[in-house]
Symmetry: C2
Subunit: 213 residues, 2 copies
DNA sequence: ATGTACATAGTAATTATTATCAAGTCAAGA
DNA sequence: TCTTGACTTGATAATAATTACTATGTACAT
């Protein structure tokens, strides 16, 4: 059933911000930009309108890796390149001579309506970061990782100790059982906050100390 | 930090079911198959293990359209075809002679590690369904759509009436204001449960009658 | 036999998105 | 000009998809 699509002020701003963007933003990224101009706009309004504008043929949806929906002002179908580290998406222009042809017997009974080509790799910014990391700018782990109460307790116990500790040592200064300590230590190792210089002995890392602040 | 990966019974079943599948299932689809053999397995276990097995290099992750993660037993990179109607994913084998080459100047500073080609269209099953629909097997709307209480109220009022009704007519036999009726009607039209033979007059559809059962 | 490490089930929490509804706003008709 | 109808919004609830947490299970190492 047809209905008229009104070009509201909010929709004009959404389109303007999408037009400016070259990185095929997610709804959330676009929302952060739009609210600088429309402080009262709702995230639900952005989500709803991206879908409405796409269905009306005004913008296009970018089908690319990652869980979040991405949109593009450019209606002409083109190819993309995706950064596996920071999830950024850029356009890539291939010569029109490179066309993929699928023969009838390869089509598996599908009626094919299109083809997307997606390159993936590491973007210039993340390549720079990687180079710094290799040069000893040592930033392991993720300092912004949330810690559960039990993880904090274990990490604090390790922070107070000057020597590597075992599970029993930690249990004796916390309210946790040694078996519980073991589980928390596994999670903290994964986050890069705890290291094990010797088997069954643990110590806090620099990242772990930062995470406690 | 490295650790040993144990091949538990659950993991063996997960791998066996993934191996049998040719449609690159989502975690949820795989879970439905696995629980026939392991009734007590947890969905969280399936999710966690798919990620672990992928990170261990035992299976591959299929990056394709749609919000859900998909996995494949086949480790060799290959191309896919995706049904835009039912979201099914199949393999497609292109001759190895068709290679996409990206010149240095086109790479935008990225270090490219790979390329995915995804075809999209309508699969054989959905093509059959479409043919039936065109032949008058009329199945519009979605009978399984949930209805809110207010939507039900409006639909029931329309079901009782033999003639097309306006908002005021519906308001007089329900607890809703005409303005509220208007909003509910918009939603019901979208679902295919209400039609408007004349402007400002509404009637229930066959789908709408079915949805009330 | 005991301690350690990896794994699971059940459930809570998080992320990303969509539905609902009262109220706002604009267009059409009387 | 007023009333009615239709589309839209902001706020919030709900849903879908996924991940984190924890007590407990199980296997391995000492």
């Amino acid at each position: 059933m047809k209905h008229t699509l009104r070009m509201t002020h909010q929709r004009e701003i959404i389109l303007a911000e999408l037009r400016k963007s070259t990185s095929h933003p997610t709804a959330d990224e676009l929302y952060e930009r739009i609210r600088k101009k429309l402080p009262r706009i709702s995230l639900a309004t952005v989500y709803r309108n991206l879908e409405i504008l796409f269905e009306a043929g005004v913008i296009s949806k970018v089908e690319i890796s990652g869980r979040q929906k991405r949109f593009d002002y450019d209606l002409e179908e083109h190819d993309h390149i995706y950064c596996v580290k920071c999830h950024r998406v850029d356009n890539i222009n291939l010569p029109k001579t490179q066309k993929i042809v699928v023969r009838q017997k390869e089509q598996k009974g599908y009626r094919i309506s299109g083809c997307r080509i997606e390159f993936y790799g590491i973007c210039p910014d993340c390549r720079k970061k990687q180079k710094k990391e290799l040069e000893g700018d040592n930033k392991m782990g993720c300092s912004s990782c949330e810690l559960s109460d039990k993880q904090k307790e274990v990490l604090e116990a390790l922070a107070k100790s000057n020597d590597p500790c075992g599970s029993k040592d930690i249990a004796s200064v916390t309210s946790l059982e040694p078996k519980q300590i073991s589980c928390q230590i596994t999670a903290l190792k994964k986050k890069g906050y705890v290291a094990s210089p010797v088997r069954c002995k643990y110590e806090i890392t620099e990242e772990g100390k930062k995470a406690l602040d």
